[in-house]
C-alpha cells in the first residue's frame, strides 16, 4: 500500500508546475521535495511488502498476522465510532446549538455503553438519569469554559 502511495506521490509531484516562467530551476521546483519523499516512501513500502511476503511464506499468513490483544466486540467499536462521527460531523456546526449537540452526544454515549450492565442490575432508569446528568454538566461546563473564559465562538 505504501509503495503504491509513494508512487502516486511521485507522479503527482512530477506533474506539478516547474515554475520555470518565474525563473525556477530543477532544485527550486515545488515538486522536487515531495517527489523525493515519494520515491523513498515507495522504496521503503516495497521493502516492507517483500518482507511481509517472505515472512508469510515462511510461517503462513495467519501466524504472520497474529495479534494477542484482547479486543472488545466489533459491534460496540462500530457503535462508538458511529456516535463519534455523528457528533463531530452532524451535530457540530450544522445548525444544532453546540450545548445541545454535546449534551445529546455525551448522554447517548454513556447510556448506550452502560445499558447492558444497568439492565443486568435492573437500573436502566437510574442509568438514564446518570447519563442525562453527565451530558448536561459536560455541555454546560465546556460551553461556559470556551465561550466565557477562552472567548471562543463555538460552532
Amino acid at each position: 500500500m505504501w509503495a503504491a502511495f509513494g508512487c502516486l506521490m511521485t507522479v503527482l509531484s512530477w506533474q506539478m508546475d516547474r515554475m520555470t516562467s518565474q525563473g525556477a530551476t530543477l532544485h527550486t521546483a515545488p515538486g522536487l521535495w515531495p517527489g523525493i519523499i515519494g520515491v523513498v516512501l515507495a522504496t521503503l513500502g516495497g521493502m516492507l511488502m517483500v518482507r511481509s511476503w517472505r515472512r508469510a511464506a515462511h510461517i503462513g499468513w495467519d501466524a504472520a498476522q497474529e495479534d494477542e490483544t484482547d479486543y472488545a466486540p466489533a459491534r460496540s467499536f462500530a457503535l462508538a465510532v458511529a456516535l463519534f462521527m455523528i457528533y463531530a460531523l452532524l451535530l457540530v456546526g450544522r445548525g444544532v446549538p453546540f450545548w445541545l449537540g454535546t449534551a445529546i452526544f455525551v448522554s447517548a454515549f454513556i447510556f448506550v455503553f452502560q445499558v447492558a450492565g444497568r439492565k443486568a442490575s435492573g437500573g436502566i432508569a437510574r442509568g438514564a438519569i446518570v447519563a442525562l446528568a453527565c451530558g448536561a454538566v459536560t455541555a454546560a461546563a465546556v460551553t461556559y469554559l470556551f465561550e466565557h473564559v477562552f472567548y471562543v465562538r463555538l460552532p
Binding site: 530543477l26 515545488p30 521503503l44 472488545a72 462508538a80 452526544f105 469554559l145
Partner: protein, 504 residues
Amino acid sequence: MFDGLVAFGHSIWNFCDPLSLGLVMLSSLVGVVIGALPGLTATMGVALMTTLTINMPSNQALLVLVCTYVGAIYGGSRSAILLNIPGTPASAASCLDGYALAKQGLAGRAMGIATSGSVLGTLIGMFFLALFTPVLGNLALKFGAYEFFWLALFGVIVAGTLTGNDPLKGWIAGLIGIFVATIGQEAIYAYDRFSFGSRDLAGGIQLVPALVGAFGFAELLVAVRERPAPVKINPFDSVIPKFKDVAQYWRTILRSGVIGTFIGILPGVGEDVAAWSSYAAAKRVSKEKEKFGKGSIDGLMAAETGDNACVPGAVIPVLTLAIPGSAPAAVLMAAMLIHGVRPGPMIMVESPAFVYDVVAMMMFATIGILIYGLTLTNLLIKVLMVPKPIILPIIFVLCVVGSYAISQRLFDVWVMLAFGVLGYALRRLHYPVAPLVLGLVLGDLMEKGFRRGLVLSDGDLTPFFVRPISAVLWITIVLVILFKIPLLQRLGRRLTGRAAAPAA
C-alpha cells in the same frame, strides 16, 4: 553562570502570583490525572491543553503545558503500581517492580519511591536544562540550512528507529508525517501542493488539530476497541517517601537522571526509552539483579527517575534547535510557535530570559507533582474507578471543540478526525506514531533546509556532505540505518563472535 542564576530568580519571582500558582496546581493535577488514566498519554494531555490555553498570555499558557507534561509523565506511575497498567507508555518499565511491590502490600512505599524518583529526576533534568541550553544555543548559531536539514532528518530517523519494534515501519511513519507537512502552499513560489483545489488544504494542515487527532482521538479509538482490564486495587501503606530509599539509591538516581536527560536530548526518542534505558543500566550494575522484576526498589527508582529526567532533557533541543526531543515536546514546541515564541538557535540572543522561564516552569511543576504525590492517592483511585464510558465522550468533546477553537473553522475538526483514524490504523498495524509527529513537525524545517541549501550552493550537493557538523550528522544517520539492516546485524554479530572466541 551568575547571570543565569539571577535570570532564574527573576523567572521564579515572575510566576509567584496567585493566578500562576493556581494554574500550576490545576495543570499539574490535570497532568497527573491524565497520566494516571490508562489510555490517555502525556502527548494527548499536552495537545488538549494547548487548545484550552490558546487565548492565554504565552508565559501562563506554557506554564500550564509544562506542568501538564511533567504531571502526566509522573501520573503514569500510579496506575502502573496500582493496576499493573502503565498510565502512559513512559511508565511501562515501572509496572515490573511497582506492581510486584504492590502485590507484597507495599504499594504505598512504591508510590513514595516513584514520587521521590520523579521529583529528583525532574530536578536533575532541570539542572542540565539550565546548564546545556545556553551552551547548545551558542553551538546552534553555527548551524546553517545544511545542518538543519540533517538534524531534522536525524530526528525522524532516530524516532523511527527507537520508538517502535520495527525501524522500517518507524521510518515509513516518519515519511508520512513529512508528506503531510508538504500539503499546502510551499515557501518559495506559494505553489499549492496536494490541495486538489481546496482552499482549506492550500493553507496546510495545522499541527495542533493533527496532533489532537493522532494522539487524542486515536487513543480513544484504541481504548474503545480494547477490552478494559479489570480494576483491582491492592491495599497500600504510607505513600510518604522514605529518606532511606533515596539515600541508599543515590547512585541510581544520579545515573538514571543523566541517562534520562541525555535520551531526552536525542530528537524524537522520548520518555519510554529513557525509562527502559535507565532500568536496564540499573539492572546491569545492581548487586541485587535477581530482585529486578520481583519488586526491586532500585529498578523502580531507575525507571521513574529516568522518565521524568527525560522531560527537561526533551525541551533542551526544542529551545536550542527547534527540534523536539519527544512527542509531547513536539506538541509543546507547536504551542510555543502558536504563542509567538520562536524556539531555535536565536533564542539565547533574542530572548535568553525565556530559557530560564522554562526552567522555572519545570521547578513549579516539580513542586506540583511532589504535593500531589504526597496527597492525591485516594482521589486518584476514585478517578481510576470511573467507568470508561463516562470519560471517553467527555474527552472526545474536548478533542472536537479544542481542534475547532484554534482557528474557529470546521475543517480543523475534520483534520482531527482524519488523523485520529490514521493514528488508530497505524497503531493497529504496529506502526509507532511518534515518528509521524516528528515528521509532521520537522517536515517544514527539513524541506526549507534542503531547498535553501540547494539554492545557496546553486544545486551542488557537496556542502551537504563536507561541512564538519553536516558530516557528523549524515554519518551518524547512515550508521543508525546500517545497524538496523538485519544482514549487517548478523554480520556484526558473527564478527564480534569471532573476535570474542580467540579471546576466550
